[in-house]
Amino acid sequence: MWYRSKRDEDAQAKQAGATPEAEIKEAIPMATHPTRTAEFGSVRSGALIGKSLEITGKIRGAEDLVIDGKLEGDVELPEHRLTVGPSGVLHGKIRAREIVVYGSVQGNLEASERVEIKKHAKVIGDLKAQRPVIEDEAYFKGNVETIRAETPKPAPAQLQATAAAASAQAAPVQASLPQTAAPASAKVENRKA
């Protein structure tokens, strides 16, 4: 009796274990397109230059690119992201929306959004981006310049000319205003100062 109940329990356990697994397997859809596994913390799809590839020439495109091989030449991906993988070696200028470097780059980097130089990466060249990020233990030698999202401040002379023009335009309006309006405009000027 004890033996029978033990067998029954085992059978029940097997059934219980098998059913959800089978359901999960059935729930997973089959891939119809080749997919890339998550690389360097990103699950984006795009082109990949593998470790064994060596390319000489300019690359221009409209999709994300991962370089894990060697490239001698410039890269232009104005609307996309370039990742230089840990084995990637690049000699040339890079212009992209986002640039992430895990490997080695010798050349200037320009990104309309951000440049990230990861730990143990090596970059020799000038860097221009809205958000430059250089992790500790990364080697970087070059100039860092940020691109500002907002419009640049006008030069002082230009600012004065604009203010003069604005006050000249405002003068007839102020003249037509009643006397009580004057303190209000004075208050605004004080706040600006």
Binding site: I117, V133, I134, D136, F140, K141, G142, N143, V144, E145
Partner: protein, 197 residues
């Protein structure tokens, strides 16, 4: 060449320390100078460091980062420095953050670096250097991060190495070609030097 007064040693509260860093008179002066304009060029001899990049670019300037100890390693006897080592046109740099790097250079290298600094710094430009106490035989190169407005976070890297000791007079002589030298003794017993070109 004029020499500024040597202020008394600051305690944490007197120095206005926040815990994240200590007050740096040299950094305060450089910040005040850099706030006066935009689009200038600053050199950091300590290599790339995110907080220093944010500090300089936040003030509207470009930062050239290079660890001179790495660049000049292996050429200790040479009296010249590589052409690509902070190679800027004459008088095009507005501030240099040397930290303690000058003390770890050999004598010929130090002379060559100072000559180039004098050439690339614009008249009126500032240079901030830090010197270890001359009593200590060895020291680890410092990692200096700007931790806020006039606040500096100084940490020693691993691996102490011998350095060239400088007393106050020797520091003044080192920068004799520059317009002025001011020295401040910090509460962590370092000499902070601010030099005007």
């Amino acid at each position: 060449m004029s020499t500024g007064p040597l202020p008394r040693r600051q305690t944490a509260t007197q120095g206005g320390g926040t815990g994240a860093g200590r007050r740096s008179y040299g950094l305060e002066q450089i910040t005040e100078y850099l706030r006066g304009f935009e689009g200038g060029q600053v050199i950091d001899f300590g290599g790339a460091c995110q907080s220093n990049i944010d500090y300089v670019t936040g003030l509207g300037h470009r930062l050239y980062a290079e660890d001179v100890l790495v660049t000049l390693a292996g050429a200790a006897g040479a009296g010249t420095i590589p052409g690509d080592c902070f190679a800027f046109p004459r008088s095009s740099v507005h501030a240099v953050l040397c930290w303690d790097r000058l003390q770890f250079l050999s004598e010929p290298q130090l002379g060559a670096v100072l000559d180039r600094l004098h050439r690339v710094l614009a008249p009126g430009g500032l240079l901030l250097a830090i010197f270890h106490p001359e009593q200590a035989p060895t020291a680890a190169p410092l990692t200096c991060r700007v931790a806020g407005d006039g606040q500096l976070l100084v940490t020693a890297a691993a691996g102490a190495r011998p350095f060239r000791p400088f007393n106050t007079r020797a520091i003044e002589r080192l920068f004799q070609n520059f317009e002025s030298v001011k020295l401040y003794l910090t509460r962590d017993n370092l000499q902070e030097v601010i030099v005007r070109r």
